[in-house]
Symmetry: C2
Subunit: 678 residues, 2 copies
């Protein structure tokens, strides 16, 4: 049996303790109160979380200590670079979870940490009151309470809390009987004062200082409209211009959109230009894909000459701004074979052994109107700076929103570096990630800095699919760093569902996108239920990607009224902005999605019924969530039909409703519980 | 509109780049391949994960890169302090998840990291084969492949791989036609060689080096038996001794237990000693609670004189070891008012204003036979070292397992420091946390270093409760750091279920504990279905905690046969050791829990049916998980009844079974799929 040198008297002389062990002990001892599982800690603090300026940001953590002492906690935060820290109190939620609310008032990088401590006076209060209630003698406890207040007063010397604490000490000293002292110790003023200024015993600090990026409101909530400027002339024989787009602004404004987004507006290459419907040969007048960027007229920092000049572009940006609309540009890094960079910077491209440039490919498919840059080898750092400067260039021309094409085929480190470089100078800028790829890849792009993300929304059609996907987006960890933007269609996605659903399906998918997600978008043609496909594909026939189009958005069967309605409600109802407040409720029909959003501050509570079946009307029972207001199942509740404006009363939890795809495949209600503001 | 200095030609001269930005760029660029969500990363690397020596440890991570290149990954690991790193390959699982297996052969702290890279030759192979299959010309691709091999050979100069690569280069140079070169490039030997020795482009490394503690087998898998040495004399009038315990060892061995655990064996205080059934007054012959540690005979480093001497204790430890049984001691930090430390170290205790010591309390309840130490103020570091040295002292006396009493009422930093101090010297030591408290507190204790944890098992009785709890323990993150020890009862817990269940309930709860958890335990009396309660309480009547008892473990109705059976199967069936392999299957009856464990290496697959209802027999349908072996629903499968040993065949997925609480409330089967070893 191995024996160590321990004698029967086990205590080693403390002087034998190695310094390192002693230092480890004292270091560890400083975090007696545990602070873990912080809501906004992404990958152990590797990435920042996100917040929106002027909106409540609720930060949570598991906080607890050994034993049974009362603890307390607070959030300390500041804008990066500031000297002063602000403090926000935390409150106990349940199961050792605490929460605090911070409202960030400035854009940009912020940092925060959490502190927690044992509150000895609160512990004393709790225990002493229990003993008093049990009829026990508390004279010793009274002396102990007195000592706690005296110690606090001493410690507060020179601080703002000193006068109040000294006043309590003085009044304690002015009486001698236990009951009198006890009255003072238990007084509300003493509690208040000691809670604020009492000693913070075992003050512990969250292991890491964490970062939160505060972004503009449009980062979290906006309605997007996408169009191709070249198709805005109203005349198939004339290439559209920025002035044509200016003429369309009142239309976009009238529909209620916040963002107007254009696919690339740069010069388009001639070499291997694609013709209509993605054909390999283009005629002399075919405009080509705007994603084949770069010609002798310039590259990513130039404007396609037929669209207009920089001066025209400035007028467009200003005219949009005057209507309350922000312009979003596409940031698509690939080049046409005619891009100036290919000659100026051959080191940014891949070359074949025969001296030709390597085209984009997905073997055995080839994309010969496109070449990709590569980001490593001699492209570091030159290409990275050039790309950053392209973004800064367009910011200089009034653009603050960038929809980024296929970011998942470019290195994550590039995005992380570039977005931080740009946002440090311009925290108002928004980057939307157009990555339709594997879930972890999409989340990583959000982590490295993308403000918003395209999603799987266009492929989530059933009640179960939508419920599961939205539950993931609104309740899992990704809600702290990934913000969805639900596009109902795009130039690349003509969803199979809409190809056969007819007008009811377009209305359904519009309402779902606009009410489930903070940001959503439509690509023009959606309002007239355009769905003609390349047969068997999710592509549009005669796609604007390869040819000019002329649109009549006012034609019969358009759904402009629905668009105006949802965009108006999005502005008017605070609940619509509360993305993570989404809750699904019971409607006893698989073809009906039934959910609510609510805004805590205003009490706004909005219910949505959306019919998923575009063919058949459905009659169904559903539950009004009376329990959310603490009401019994047989209570009555006032309700406003937000579509028609009228008020009425629902009696009891169970109700019945009919939705007809040919009448209106959705209903939207505001619940007004007793005592709420009408 | 704000303009930045960017000209229409957007590229800034690189020389303007600030050094810090450039450094950030180059630092970020090094991790092109993402390695995240590492299975064994606990709280961002703040805490070590746990593994068992000699057993496969499967480490997983999400690994992916931008674009579509083939990637590869490996685990690098070593024993802390070693210079050499070992490497274990990782394999793709699905959804960007990768896994690798490490078998640690030494105890103690290990470190690991994950590396990943783009494999350009594998990418070349994949793409070139696709082009060949599509009938495309690949002459340029052949030259490119040739270049990749040449570059690899150059890079391998001087390494073990050089000869093989040079041989391939030589044979490539010896032919001139594309088809011949291609044959060599596509040959299996070339693939193998390039996979091993080809360049690791964009070699990326997991952000943190992570720690894993490798612990002895008993840390993860053991059957515990608890008894009070003082009750082992077989005579109510004589205090039991260590020699009496030695006489009981053959019994414990015969039942098949691995660990024999004693509540505290130290001198017991006299002041405010508790009498039978926790009464406040003890008679002169009442032995008191062994948890009131310390008297004039000594404290935590002394033995209660009536139990014997250190020499007796050594004989007991040796005799147990000879039977293959390890002795576990209680580590209970509280003191009786007579503990020597109170005079020697008044600074380790709390004192009242009247000069008396502060007893343990939970207001308004008082526990006047106990005083607690406090761990801060002047108790740092003296008390921490003294407590560590108590543990080292008993290790010196042959004890390697410590059951720690109420660790959640002592500071987490103390445990973290103390356990690491002890295990750095003695990595074979096991600490069992006896914390019956809130879930996050229990998990934190496991994180800070406890080897095993008591659980909520005694309060999980229904099928739903057991399924949910075991699913949490075996599938959530806690499985990497928390190991349950399912005690069926303890001196403190006489479960309500067993108070009314009779013998069938005892058999059920035994089989559940022994088969669901890696470690489990019984406190003596369980084998004779002892359940007499203090009325209305979860306490035993005439508890050994306060008085001597005499036991007849062979009395009628004992369940020794069941204990021997489950402990034998635990040794014989490798599947029983695979805690996280637990899967629940469908048995169409709420009173029947139906589950399986399996061992990948041996193919051992064991099914368990356990009847939860101790009153009524149940007949039920259940599904044989044929799909786990890739078998259709109508397949036949050989099965062995592990209770009786006989073999037979089940035909088809659906089967029917009857379990009778008065016959045998459980069944245990081994599935032997076609081709498996019988």
């Amino acid at each position: 049996m191995a024996r160590i040198s321990a004698s029967k008297k086990s205590r080693l002389p403390i002087t034998d303790v190695p310094d390192a062990a002693d230092a480890a002990l004292r270091e560890l001892a400083q975090t007696r109160v545990v602070i873990e599982n912080v809501s906004h800690e992404i990958d152990g603090g590797r990435f920042p979380a996100k917040a929106v300026v002027g909106e409540d940001c609720v930060i949570e953590a598991d906080i607890f200590s050994d034993g049974h002492d009362v603890i307390n906690a607070a959030i300390e935060w500041r804008c990066r670079g500031d000297e002063m820290w602000h403090t926000a109190p935390m409150r106990f939620v349940d199961n050792d979870r605490w929460a605090g609310t911070v409202r960030f008032e400035r854009l940009g990088s912020h940092e925060f940490t959490i502190i927690a401590w044992r509150d000895l006076f609160a512990t004393w209060l709790r225990d002493t009151e229990k003993k008093i209630n049990a009829g026990q003698d508390v004279s010793l406890e009274t002396i102990e309470g007195d000592h706690l207040v005296e110690a606090a007063a001493e410690q507060a010397a020179g601080s703002e809390h000193e006068p109040a604490l000294q006043a309590i000490v003085k009044s304690l000293n002015s009486v001698s009987e236990t009951t009198h002292k006890l009255t003072i110790l238990l007084a509300p003023e003493t509690r208040r004062c000691m809670r604020k200024a009492g000693p913070r015993t075992n003050l512990s600090r969250c292991m890491r200082t964490l970062e939160i990026w505060v972004e503009p409101q449009i980062a979290g909530f906006g309605a997007w409209y996408e169009l191709m400027p070249r198709s805005q002339s109203g005349d198939m024989s004339r290439h559209g211009t920025f002035d044509d787009v200016i003429a369309r602004l009142p239309y976009v404004k009238n529909l209620g959109f916040d963002v107007l987004y254009f696919p690339p507006i740069h010069p388009i290459g001639r070499t291997n230009r694609k013709g209509p419907n993605n054909s390999l040969t283009a005629g002399p007048n075919d405009p080509g894909s705007p994603y084949a960027i770069g010609s002798e007229d310039g590259g990513h920092d130039a404007i396609h000459p037929e669209l207009g000049t920089f001066e025209d572009f400035h007028r467009l940006v200003e005219a949009a701004r005057a209507e309350g609309i922000l312009i979003a540009l596409d940031f698509a890094i690939q080049c046409s074979p005619d891009h100036p960079w290919i000659k100026e910077h051959p080191e940014w491209f891949d070359w074949r052994p025969d001296g030709t440039i390597k085209f984009a490919e997905n073997p055995p498919k080839k994309y010969e109107d496109i070449v990709n840059v590569h980001f490593y080898r001699e492209a570091i750092p030159g290409l990275w700076y050039a790309l950053r400067d392209i973004v800064l260039f367009w910011i200089g021309h009034g653009v603050t929103i960038f929809r980024v094409d296929n970011p998942h085929t470019k290195p994550f480190p590039f995005w992380e570096w570039m977005i931080r470089e740009v946002k440090t100078q311009h925290p108002e800028v928004v980057f939307l990630s157009e990555a339709f790829t594997r879930p972890k890849v999409m989340k990583r792009l959000a982590k490295v800095g993308f403000t918003q993300s395209y999603t799987y929304y266009t492929w989530r059609n059933t009640k179960q699919e939508l419920t599961e996907y939205l539950t993931e987006l609104t309740t899992e960890e990704c809600r702290y760093y990934m913000r969805p933007n639900f596009f109902v269609n795009t130039p690349d996605i003509n969803p199979y569902f809409l190809q056969t659903s007819g007008r009811p399906g377009f209305r359904t998918r519009l309402v779902l996108a606009a009410t489930l997600s903070g940001s959503y978008g439509i690509y023009n043609g959606y309002e007239i239920c355009e769905a003609a496909p390349v047969p068997g594909k999710e592509e549009y026939l005669d796609s604007e990607k390869y040819q000019l189009r002329v649109w009549d958005m006012d034609q019969q069967g358009n759904i402009q009224d629905d668009i105006r309605l949802v965009n108006r409600l999005r502005r008017e109802q605070p609940a619509m902005k509360a993305f993570t407040s989404l809750r699904f409720y019971n409607a006893w029909n698989d073809q009906v999605l039934y959910y609510a959003k609510n805004d805590k501050a205003s009490g706004d509570f909005v219910l949505f019924h959306v019919l998923l079946d575009p063919q058949n009307s459905q009659e169904f029972d559903f539950e009004i969530p009376l329990w959310e207001f603490g009401l019994p199942d047989d209570a009555s509740i006032e309700v406003q039909d937000l579509i028609h404006g009228n008020h009425f009363t629902w009696h009891g939890k169970s109700q019945r409703l009919n939705l007809d795809p040919n009448q209106r495949p959705y209903a939207i209600w505001r619940l007004i519980p007793p005592g709420a503001h009408r």
